[in-house]
């Protein structure tokens, strides 16, 4: 298969990750677009047989980090209330009680330091192995572990704080 075709297969997942990373639909899609453009311009650099997905996430991470640097740390903060997203899009079918919890999740995620948010989402949402995350973010695996640990613990505290009545579901 043509690498461009393959690239497009990953678009839905890139969008999902970007949406979780930046809680704003347009900005998230901007990030995906920049990532795709950069990837398409560098397909020659991609080594056949290696993991395309990991490569794309690496590029997305770099684009995201560059934007963050350019725009200064403060400017990456985007509004949590995104009017461009209809409420119905995020409404969870047959479980109305969820929506509050879900909004808290957006809120809490945006309050994580970027580097922790990336790791927590790559592991928890993208289900990447620690080794792949280390590769994609170009950091040692030990750093992945410590960011994951701090990020999850922080997220847990944030979630518990925003809605003390609804404790997270108890599982084993």
């Amino acid at each position: 298969m043509d690498i461009r075709d393959e690239l497009m297969e990953h678009v839905p997942r890139l969008r999902r990750y970007a949406r979780a990373l930046i809680n704003n639909r347009d900005l998230a899609d901007d990030l995906v677009q920049d990532t795709l453009e950069r990837a398409l311009g560098r397909t020659a650099l991609f080594q056949a047989g290696t993991d395309l997905r990991a490569w794309l996430f690496t590029i997305m991470h770099n684009v995201f980090a560059n934007q963050a640097r350019k725009a200064s740390v403060r400017a990456v903060h985007v509004s949590v209330d995104d009017d461009s997203i209809a409420e119905s899009e995020f409404a969870v079918a047959s479980d109305q009680t969820r929506s509050l919890e879900m909004r808290d999740l957006d809120y809490a995620l945006q309050r994580l330091p970027t580097e922790q948010r990336e790791v927590v989402l790559l592991v928890g949402l993208e289900e990447m192995s620690y080794a792949d995350v280390a590769l994609a973010l170009d950091i040692p695996i030990g750093t992945v572990m410590s960011r994951l640990s701090r990020g999850r613990e922080r997220l847990r505290a944030l979630m518990a704080g925003t809605q003390p009545s609804a404790k997270l579901q108890v599982v084993r």
Partner: protein
């Protein structure tokens, strides 16, 4: 049995959540969690976080891809790719169709026969990942039940064969029929629990299985009021959860899991074979 455990590190706790521990170490962590409710609560929250991520963001996967994110120059036939996820789903279904002979015609055309979902060699290509008949209800319910109940699976320490039997007997009474939980140990999945859920069509028995990497799979069996012909395996997808479901006479079956479709399909084959064998004998 009271061997001194090496203390569990922070890293290992997360590795446990992410399913990357060795079997041996995982068992040790589980034992430690049983003795430390505070630690167990933390781990449980970590699991919940991962579930929350999927509940919240997986819907993006099925959104139509905006034009600006589609390839600039149509190098190949891109006309079908306007909605990539659907297209991808269709492609996957076609592959499945070839593999196991899923055909929506199969059930309809051969009424009353013992048409097996495993039947090979079907030429029908009009397969769809989701069809609109009544058995969809079960698939959907099974997917929801999977997501809702799976994280809460409790594996009592003392579950032995006797208790298993009692539990299955209890389920059978509730369901008003002989239920027998298929064994999937061969594929590395162990029965880890079960419950009765209220369903539109009467009670639904839900069996929960746990895989070698802590993957969760559920089997739902519903006793249907309406007897239908045997149908082929169908695939229903709800976010990250894949469901293979089929109807066999009075019963509807649904195997759900957020795991690779091929693995899930193999498990479904196992379940089907065992249930059919049980009825025959």
């Amino acid at each position: 049995m009271n061997e001194q455990l090496t203390p569990i590190s922070e890293e290992e706790l997360h590795a446990y959540v992410d399913g990357t521990l060795s079997d041996e170490r995982r068992a040790q962590v589980e034992r430690a969690l049983e003795q430390n409710p505070e630690l167990a609560a933390r781990v449980s929250d970590y699991f919940s976080l991962n579930n929350l991520f999927h509940n919240r963001y997986d819907r993006v996967l099925s959104e139509p891809v905006p034009k600006r994110l589609q390839p600039p120059a149509p190098k190949r036939r891109w006309l079908d790719a306007a909605n990539w996820p659907q297209f991808a789903g269709m492609a996957a279904a076609l592959v499945l169709g070839v593999g196991i002979g899923v055909g929506t015609q199969m059930g309809k055309d051969v009424p009353g026969t013992t048409a097996s979902p495993l039947g090979m060699g079907s030429d029908h290509s009009d397969t769809r990942p989701v069809s609109a008949d009544a058995s969809d209800g079960l698939a959907r319910q099974a997917a929801i039940a999977h997501v809702v109940y799976m994280p809460a699976v409790q594996v009592p320490d003392s579950v032995g064969t006797d208790q298993d039997r009692d539990f299955v007997q209890w389920l059978s009474n509730k369901l008003g029929t002989d239920v027998h939980a298929p064994l999937l140990n061969k594929s590395g999945f162990e029965l880890s629990g079960g419950r009765i859920l209220p369903g539109a069509d009467g009670p639904v028995a839900q069996f929960m299985y746990r895989g070698p990497g802590d993957e969760r799979v559920t089997l739902c069996i519903s006793h249907r009021k309406v007897n239908s012909n045997t149908t082929a395996f169908k695939l229903y997808q709800d976010g990250p959860v894949n469901v293979f479901y089929w109807v066999d006479g009075d019963y509807g079956y649904a195997v759900s899991g957020g795991i690779d479709r091929k693995v899930l399909l193999q498990l479904s084959h196992d379940v089907y074979a065992q249930l059919t064998a049980a009825k025959g004998g």
